[in-house]
Amino acid sequence: MKIHPIHRSELIQFVEKNSLENAFVQDSFLTQPGIEIHGIFAKDGQQKGFFFTESLPRMKFLKSVATPRNMPNCQLTYVCSAKNPAKKNSELKNVMEAISHYVESLGNSIVSVSFPETWIDFQPFVWNKFKVTTRYTYQLDLSISEEELLVNLTSERRKNITKAQNDQLTTKVIEPNSVMLEMILSTFKRQNIPVNRHIVEKILFESKKENLLATMTYDTENRPLACNFCLIDARKATYLFGGYSSEHKHEGAGALALWRSIQLAKKREVAIFDFEGSMIPQIEKYFRGFGGELVPFYRVTKSSYLVEVLLKTKERTRF
């Protein structure tokens, strides 16, 4: 198994050849500065998969190979040939082993990459002295009826939505616009989460329309209150950004926008609605209220001993 950087055109060719659906495989994500595309190849040279990383500076003097910003994970995709369960486990283990050596060989001082929740075998990383840590996201199974989805909400979240509806708030499907952009950016700012305006702009305005799901909640005077932006493909809708107006507030506006997105994703016959990571306590509690399943995914981390001890002072759960 071999891994090496590939060009965007090679990736697109591979995705089309294998009829793979992934909303993150598009120019609005792949042309962001620092994004690197890596191809996975079998011994005979045939491409079998891909994943993405981003090179990012850390603490001014360090460089890291990381999960691309605004992607929940590295989007590792692999077309497995084995059918026999034991052989399949072995083939997937070989993929992970190859990736563990490859990311280390990229020469960055820190490796910190998250993987899709469908990948569970990280033993080759453990054996290669990576730290593998568990992270979580909430996912809603959209195969159940809308009534069941509603029943699964917490009473608090249901009250939020009912109050918004009783107060005659409306939610519209919109095309991302500058109001949405400013709402998202100011929400990040209020939460002290650093964000790159250019990247958010690119995702909002340059993503393919068929992959977008954007909703905005308005009050009775048609003033925008809260918004929701999701990326959608044939399998999954992924919540990416949300925001609310600091000027005109309503406790149910955000929940209504999100609930509308869930309803729309279901209408498009998508199997899963993914809340895209829920590791911050307040955010986790908010997303938990929508009644999804807590789904683990894994992050691998490695650096030199001294750098790890240094970083441990700040991020003990990671280093």
């Binding site: 034991a86 909400l153 590791m279 683990p296 759960t317």
Partner: protein, 318 residues
């Protein structure tokens, strides 16, 4: 939610069916085990888990699962039906455990494993524990014998066929001295320290026809390999195994394991668990039986300086 030490007799009020939560199993540990109860707001006992304490470099205590037990035996009843409420309850319990560990064992090394059924470890993460997956392989015994055989790596399947051709036999074993002898030999060869007193308790005090079984593989009258499994109504755990180096045969181990799998299936057990597979050679052997890789969570934490020191030899854990 409150965590408090409980006596072994209090376990009777819990509806756990796991062999690792049975009085008989917990009694295997004469010392070092702290049995803890999880009590709800009304003071009712709704769950349990245990900690095993070992001394490390004279002045440090390490908390871990007891030897020969794959995890800390966490069990609790969650009566919530609404998914969000259920998650809320799970979080309350893990938060209580996490706070108990912080309060009572702040200066200890914590390396605790939880059963695969624990799906939510965020409370530990939020309390600065490192949450790291470990793995086991599990076989779903709902499959037919033919399907179980087809799932195996062809090499392992061929080894089992070869065992039959070479005249190897496999039979039920009730001689626990034989299990002990072969297991001790195997562990010594691998340089693994054996807690003989606990091993004795498992083989000679705990083991009976209802909770465990053993198979021996022979060629003529020579003992080649042995297996020892413990079980409850749902799962069978491959706990101990070994082979006789003086009379080795590549097919003996696979034949013993395969017979153990078939026996578990015959006894109506749904899952055969290989009970942890984190050592590369052992993992590849277990993988060849075609089971599903199942992650389970471990939590790891020690005082900062100790963690930094442990990182020198166990970077993947600290």
């Amino acid at each position: 939610m409150q965590i408090q030490p409980i006596s072994i007799n209090e376990l009777g009020s819990l509806s756990t069916s796991s062999v690792f939560n049975s009085k008989e199993w917990i009694s295997v540990y004469d010392e070092g085990l702290e049995l803890l109860g999880i009590h709800n707001a009304n003071g009712e006992l709704i769950g349990c888990f245990y900690l095993y304490k070992r001394k490390r470099v004279k002045f440090l205590t390490q908390l871990s699962p007891p030897p020969y037990t794959p995890h800390c035996g966490l069990f609790y009843q969650n009566f919530a039906t609404n998914p969000a409420k259920k998650h809320g309850e799970n979080k309350k319990i893990t938060k209580a455990i996490s706070e108990y560990l912080q309060r009572h064992y702040k200066r200890s090394i914590v390396t605790l494993a939880f059963p695969p059924s624990l799906g939510d470890t965020q409370s530990f993460y939020w309390n600065d524990f490192k949450v790291i997956p470990n793995y086991t392989y599990q076989l779903d015994l709902a499959h037919s014998n033919q399907e179980l055989s087809a799932q195996m790596d062809p090499k392992t399947r061929n080894l089992i066929k070869k065992a039959e051709k070479d005249g190897l036999t496999v039979e039920k074993n009730t001689d626990m001295n034989l299990v002990k002898s072969i297991v001790m030999q195997t562990m010594n060869r691998k340089g693994v320290t054996v807690n003989e007193s606990i091993l004795n308790n498992i083989l000679f005090r705990f083991a009976n026809e209802t909770n465990s079984f053993s198979f021996v593989v022979k060629q003529d009258t020579q003992v080649l390999a042995i297996t020892f499994c413990v079980m409850d109504n749902q799962k069978c755990y491959y706990l101990l195994g070994g082979y006789n180096k003086g009379n080795s045969h590549a097919s003996a181990g696979p034949l013993g394991v395969y017979q153990s799998i078939r026996f578990a299936k015959q006894n109506g057990i749904s899952i055969f668990d290989f009970e942890g597979s984190m050592i590369p050679n052992v993992e590849s052997y277990f993988r060849s039986f075609g089971g599903k890789l199942i992650p389970y969570s471990t939590i790891n934490k020690a005082p900062f300086v100790i963690e930094s020191l442990l990182k020198l030899s166990m970077k993947q854990q600290f």
